[in-house]
């Protein structure tokens, strides 16, 4: 299971990197979004994938699952939502003002 997850994380990183290296802003944002999913899965995998019960005192006979990676991912997801939303708004605004979403054409108007 861990191997499969690692491959999936690798795939996400590949796709994300490919998208970030393109010129269109929207694709770049999608790329960061996909990489973020890869990162979250990586945290989950690194915490160890077990089919265990919740870490509660009453449940003695089950193997416990580590709750910390889930807590970490939850925080990371929330933060990632915020940054992605902000980035989308920012790029929309940049598209409106600069008149292009091509990162190549954005430069060159340094002295306006």
């Amino acid at each position: 299971m861990e191997t499969l997850m690692s491959l999936l994380v690798g795939l996400f990183f590949t796709i994300g990197t490919y998208l970030i290296l393109t010129k269109s802003l929207l694709r770049i944002i999608l790329g960061t979004s996909i990489i973020s999913h890869g990162v979250h899965l990586l945290i989950l995998t690194m915490g160890g994938l077990k089919t265990g019960g919740p870490p509660l005192l009453g449940l003695q006979d089950l193997p416990f699952t580590d709750a910390l990676p889930q807590a970490l991912i939850l925080t990371a997801i929330v933060i990632n939502f915020a940054t992605t939303a902000l980035f989308l708004v920012l790029s929309y605004r940049a598209y409106k003002v600069l008149g292009t979403d091509d990162t190549d054409q954005m430069r060159g108007n340094h002295d306006e």
Binding site: A82, T83, R93, V97, L98, H110
Partner: protein, 496 residues
């Protein structure tokens, strides 16, 4: 347990949130933000006093024992940085009152400013790697908005670069956290230090430490500074000054914390790499500072030189070197804010950042001119101003550690930094006066107060170095002896 520690996070955060409710009342915004930042400064002073008398202060949130809960730790290094942060933030805020403009004020400039300080303060006192990430994000999201607030073309273009760079480095930070958690099973810094010392710093851990170094280098503009000159010249002056003073220092603080507390077992690999990065940063920064004829660019490259120099002290990893870094980091926060505010004032007076289009300002603005001169000398580390002691100690430390090349490069780039700012001084203030007072596009009215405060502070820090030496010694002692930090967090209990 000491509840004071959480206050530098809570006060700006709550005040900022309250201010969002009273969105139309700008006067209230100004008053509240000033009070909140002053209060966090006072708390930093109190923390420094407690650090001096009782050692490192800790707070375990919700009473959860470490390493299971969230720990806040304030040692002398953090407390000193907290105090400097508050002072600089208050000065930049005073500058912003006069210069930021009503449009930005109405769009939540002051709450965002406070949230930025929340993130900075939080990064300084968190005792946990994941909360360091969270505080970084709080700081970064506010900085994304502050850098693009106003929506001019330059701002939008540069902010996209800045946001993308930082988002990617945040992902890498999470990757590093995942790996560290898999190997050591903990994220509490003190506990990490114990675990790494127990199992030995294996090659894998060293690689992860280098990954963390890369991440913090991106934030601190250590070698990976390609985003900095553009991003720091886009926003308004008060914001650029805060960024230059604080944001890079947070990255530097994280590098210091990790490489003195956790990853100190393989200095021949990690600290040598830090030294090489520092040297490269200084050289490239100095070349940039000398090459440009635009005030904003020259100042931005001076930030980069400062980063390289502070890191050189850590690379030497000796008592002298780290002492120098502690002195220099505090000096650098103050003097970078000062020189950015001065540069911004010059630009608002002349209406241009190009050195060749300005001349002879000193006739109409003698105080501004001489304060710029003081700031320039202080930046280069001329005695008796504040940069001098830090430079001496860092150079001594690098020489004693046998890194003669590093110390040499540090001294050489100091000269180049001095040349670059004196170039501004000569072109801007000397020569024939083109502009009469009524032809100027801006005014110095009201903005001179924060500039004068910071100038006074850099002089006082230089003259009164003896007075703060007791505090810096303590800061260095806790930095160089990780067992103090571990003992403070675990309170003498056995670590699980």
């Amino acid at each position: 347990m000491n509840n004071l520690i959480i206050l530098p996070i809570i006060i700006p955060l709550i005040t900022g949130m309250v201010m969002v409710i009273f969105r139309r009342n700008i006067k209230l915004h100004k008053m509240f933000s000033l009070i909140a930042l002053s209060a966090s400064g006072i708390i930093a002073v109190m923390l420094m006093g407690e650090n001096k008398n009782d050692g490192i202060q800790t707070l375990h949130l919700g009473g959860w024992q470490p390493p299971f809960g969230v720990s806040m730790v304030a040692d002398m290094f953090s407390s000193m940085l907290l105090l400097t942060t508050s002072i600089v933030a208050v000065c930049c805020l005073l500058y912003a009152f006069r210069s930021i403009g009503e449009e930005r004020e109405r769009h939540y400039f002051y709450p965002l400013f406070l949230f930025l300080i929340t993130g900075v303060n939080g990064s300084f006192i968190t005792g946990d790697l994941f909360n360091l990430f969270v505080c970084f994000e709080v700081m970064l999201i506010s900085s994304y908005v502050l850098i693009s607030l106003g929506g001019t073309k330059v701002q939008l273009r540069e902010s996209i670069k800045y946001v993308l760079t930082n988002i990617i480095s945040s992902f890498l930070f999470l990757v590093a956290i995942a790996y560290i958690y898999a190997i050591t099973g903990t994220l509490n810094l003190a506990h990490l230090s114990v675990r790494v010392a127990e199992t030995g710093q294996s090659g894998l851990l060293t690689i992860i430490s280098i990954l963390l170094l890369v991440i913090f280098s991106l934030k601190a503009a250590l070698f990976l500074f390609f985003w900095l000159p553009g991003s720091y010249s886009a926003p308004p002056v008060a914001v650029a000054a805060v960024f230059a003073a604080l944001l890079t220092k947070v990255g530097i603080y994280a590098i210091f914390r990790l490489f003195t507390l956790v990853f100190y077992h393989e200095p021949q690999v990690t600290h040598l790499l830090i030294g090489i990065l520092g040297a490269a940063t200084m050289i490239l920064g100095a070349i940039g500072a000398v090459a440009y004829w635009d005030i904003k660019n020259i100042l931005a490259y001076n930030v980069i030189i400062g980063v390289g120099f502070i890191i050189a002290g850590l690379a030497s990893f000796s008592i002298e070197g780290v002492t120098g870094s502690v002195y220099y980091i505090i000096h650098d926060i103050i003097v970078k804010a000062l020189i950015f505010l001065l540069g911004g004032t010059i630009i608002s007076l002349t209406g241009t950042g190009k050195l060749k289009d300005m001349s002879g300002l000193i006739r109409n603005h003698p105080y501004l001119g001489w304060m710029f001169f003081i700031a320039a000398l202080s930046l280069a580390g001329i005695p008796p101003l504040s940069g001098f002691l830090g430079k001496v100690f860092i150079t001594q430390g690098t020489f004693e550690a046998g890194y003669y090349w590093l110390g040499g490069i540090g001294l050489l780039t100091s000269l180049m930094a001095l040349y670059s700012v004196i170039k501004i001084f000569m072109n801007c203030f000397w020569g024939e006066t083109y502009l009469s007072e009524d032809m100027e596009s801006g005014t110095t009215k009201g903005v001179m107060v924060p500039i004068a405060c910071l100038s006074l502070l850099t002089i006082l820090l230089g003259l009164g170095a003896e007075g703060i030496s007791a505090y810096t010694e303590l800061a260095v002692k806790t930095l160089m002896n990780p067992e103090f930090y571990i003992h403070a967090v675990f309170g003498g209990q056995t670590t699980p």
